[in-house]
Symmetry: C2
Subunit: 389 residues, 2 copies
C-alpha cells in the first residue's frame, strides 16, 4: 500500500525490554477518523486525540505500550503534547497532524527520557517493511501480533485496507477496544470515513468481550491517504468500501478475542428469536460476560443451566419453556427441555473444539444479536494478579 | 429459641455423599415472609414458593442441596409438590404450610427415590440441637456452615433471631442471595415481617457480590413463631426488631462473601461524595464486579488505576481530578493525583490483610453506597470449571 511507512523499536518503556514504541507515517496528510473509549476516566492521549481528530487529518501516529499515560493529570497531557511536538519536529510536519496513543499500566507518568531518545531513533527506522515491528510494539499481554490485510475493487482499480490491533485484557465493548489502527489507500472525506468506521465498529469491536472491563485508552483510528486514487464518494463505492472495512474490523476483533488473556477457546454466542433488538443484545452480552459460563467453557462443560440463567438475569424477556439451545448444530435444549443423554454426549465432544458457536433461540420474536468471547482460565487470574509486579 | 426444630441428613442427592437434605419445623404455624430471585429463569421451588408464601404462614421448610430443580419444566413443579405432600403427611400438617427449596446443579430432575426415602427419615431426626446439621445440609461449594444468632429486648422480655445461609457462587444482588433462612420468636404480622425483611435485604444481601451471576434459586425466608410472646406492632418495637434483623442479615451476607468460591480476601468498597444515590450504587457495583479489580486484590496489588477505571465505565458521573481514594485509612490518590511512593508502600502493606476497606470519594455530592465482595483467585476458576464433573 503506497504512502504508508512503519517502525517499531525497543525504547525502554516496558520492564521486559520488548518493543514498546511504534510509529505509522503517511507521506502526505491522510483523511482521519477515530472512535474513543466511553469510559469517563480517559487517558491523556485520548483526551488530546479527541480534540485533534476534529480537524479530520493526520500524518503520523505514535503508539507506546507499557504505560497508559492515564490518570496522570495535567502532567500527562503535557507529556503527550511534548511527544507530539518532538515527533512533529523530527518528521518536519505540524504537531497538529500527529496523534499519540498509549497502553499499559494506569497511573504512572510517561518516562519522558525514553521518549526523548526513542522518538528521533524511531523516525530513522521508518519503512514499508516496518509493519511487523509496528504491530509488535503496540502489544502488552498479547501473545502475538495482529494484522489483517484486505483488497477490494471499484471500477477496474483496486484498493487496500490494512488493520492492526492489540488486546488482550480490559476488553468490553463500549466504543472500540484497546488500540486498533486501520490504514487504507482510498480517497474519502473524513466525515464519510467516520461514518464507515462507526458502522464497522458496531459490528466488530463492540461485539467482543474478554473480561468485562472497558479500557481508559480504547482507540480505533482510521487513516485514508488516497494513494489508490479511488474515490469513495457515491453509494456504490461506499458499499464496497464498507464491506471491506467491516471484514478487516471483524477479523481484527476476532483476533483480539482469540488472544484474550488466558483464553483457550473462542466462542460466538448468537441470540435469536428475541422480542426486541435490545433484548437480543442484553441476553447475548450477559452470557458473554458471565464468569460462570466462561469457566464452564474452560472446563469443556456444556453447562446450559448457566447459559439460560445468564439470559434470565439479563433483563431480556425470557420464557424458559420457549428456549432452544444449540452447540454448533447440536440441540441440547428444545422448548425448554433437556434433549437427553445422547445429545449431552455429542455436545460434550463439541466442547473439546477450540471454536464453538452457541445459539440460544428465545422463540419470542425475530431479533438477533451476537457476541464473541473467550473462556476464563486460571491463567487470566495469574496474568492479572501479577500485572504490575 | 422455643418452638423450632431442625434436622440435616445425607439422603444421597449429592455425588460426594455429604449432608444434602435439611428440615426446619415450627411446632405451630409461623408468620412467614420471603424474597425470591429476580432472575426470569426461576427454579420450580421458587415458582411454587412464590404462590405459597402469599398465605403468610408456614410450618416446615425442606431444603435440598446438590440439585437446583431448575429448568425442569412441569416435572420439576410436580416433583416439588410431591415433596411437600410427603413431608406434610409425615409431619401431619397441611402441605400448604410446607415450603421447599433446592440448590445445586441446574437442569437435572430431582432424584425422587432419594426424597421418598429421605423425607420420612429426616422427620425422625428433628430436634432443637439439629441446627448444625441443618446448616450443613444446605451447603454446596461453601467451605463451612453459616449461622448467626442475636437476641434483643423489648420491655423486659427478650427475643431471639437466628439466621442460616449458604453461598458461595452465582452471587450477585438482585433480591436475596442463594438460600437464607431467618427464624425468630417474635409475634409479628406476615406483612410487617415482609417489610422488615425487604429493608434488611436491601442493606445486606443486595450489597454483596462474588461473581456477578444471579442465581435461579435465590430465596430469603423469614419465619416468626411468636413463642417469645413479644408483639412487634408499634413503631418502637419495630425499630428494635428491625435493627436486630438488619444485624443478622448483615452478618450472614458478610459470611457468604468471606466464603466466596476461591476467595482469599474480604473487601468493602465504599463510594462517597457521589452526585446521586444511583451514581453511588453504580460506581460501587462496577468496582465490586470488576474482574480486573478482583484479580489485582488477589495479587495484593493496590491497583488504583483499575478501581478508578471501573468507576469511570460505571455510568456514574466521575471527574478524575476530583477523586480521592483510600485503602483503609491510607490515602493513595488525592484530587486525582497519586500520593507517592511512601503511600504506595503503606498501601501495599494493607493489601496483605485479609479484610480491606476501599473508600472512593468522588467529591461531587453527598451520596454514599457500598458493596461487599471478595477477590478472584485461580481456585474460583478451578471450582467452576469442574462443577458438574
Amino acid at each position: 500500500m503506497k504512502g504508508f511507512k512503519f517502525a517499531g523499536i525497543c525504547a525502554g518503556i516496558k520492564k521486559n525490554g520488548g518493543k514498546d514504541l511504534g510509529l505509522i507515517y503517511c507521506e502526505k496528510p491522510a483523511a482521519a477518523a477515530a472512535l474513543f473509549t466511553r469510559n469517563k476516566v480517559m487517558a491523556a492521549p485520548v483526551l488530546l486525540g479527541k480534540e485533534k481528530i476534529k480537524k479530520g487529518f493526520c500524518q503520523a501516529v505514535l503508539v507506546n505500550s507499557g504505560n497508559a499515560n492515564c490518570f496522570t493529570g495535567e502532567k500527562g497531557i503535557n507529556d503527550a503534547i511534548a511527544c507530539s511536538k518532538l515527533l512533529g519536529n523530527c518528521l518536519d510536519i505540524s504537531q497538529d497532524l500527529v496523534l499519540v496513543s498509549s497502553t499499559g499500566v494506569i497511573g504512572a507518568n510517561l518516562p519522558m527520557d525514553k521518549f526523548d531518545a526513542g522518538i528521533p531513533a524511531i523516525v530513522k527506522q521508518l519503512s514499508f517493511e516496518g509493519m511487523d515491528n509496528f504491530a509488535d510494539a503496540i502489544l502488552t499481554t498479547d501473545t502475538h501480533r495482529k494484522i489483517v490485510k484486505k483488497t477490494g475493487e471499484i471500477g477496474n482499480k483496486s484498493f487496500a485496507i490494512m488493520g492492526f490491533a492489540k488486546g488482550s485484557g480490559m476488553i468490553r465493548p463500549d466504543m472500540a477496544t484497546m488500540l486498533a489502527y486501520i490504514l487504507t489507500d482510498v480517497d474519502i472525506l473524513p466525515q464519510d470515513l467516520k461514518n464507515c468506521l462507526s458502522a464497522a465498529n458496531e459490528k466488530s469491536f463492540n461485539r467482543i468481550t474478554i473480561d468485562g472491563d472497558t479500557s481508559t485508552n480504547d482507540t480505533l483510528l482510521a487513516l485514508a491517504n488516497g494513494s489508490s486514487e479511488i474515490k469513495i464518494n457515491d453509494t456504490d463505492s461506499k458499499i464496497v468500501f464498507q464491506n471491506a472495512l467491516d471484514e478487516v474490523c471483524f477479523q481484527l476483533a476476532k483476533m483480539v478475542v482469540k488472544d484474550g488473556e488466558g483464553a483457550t477457546k473462542f466462542v460466538q454466542i448468537i441470540v435469536k428469536g428475541a422480542k426486541t433488538k435490545k433484548d437480543a443484545f442484553k441476553a447475548s452480552e450477559a452470557i458473554a460476560h458471565s464468569n460462570l459460563v466462561k469457566t464452564a467453557i474452560y472446563g469443556e462443560d456444556p453447562n446450559w443451566g448457566r447459559i439460560t440463567a445468564a439470559a434470565g438475569r439479563s433483563g431480556a424477556m425470557v420464557i424458559p419453556e420457549n428456549i432452544d439451545l444449540f452447540f454448533d448444530e447440536q440441540p441440547l435444549v428444545l422448548k425448554g427441555s433437556w434433549v437427553g443423554e445422547e445429545a449431552e454426549k455429542k455436545t460434550a465432544k463439541i466442547m473439546k473444539n477450540n471454536e464453538i458457536t452457541i445459539t440460544l433461540d428465545l422463540n419470542l420474536g425475530q431479533e438477533t444479536d451476537y457476541f464473541f468471547f473467550c473462556d476464563f482460565s486460571e491463567d487470566y487470574v495469574k496474568i492479572n494478579a501479577e500485572y504490575r509486579s
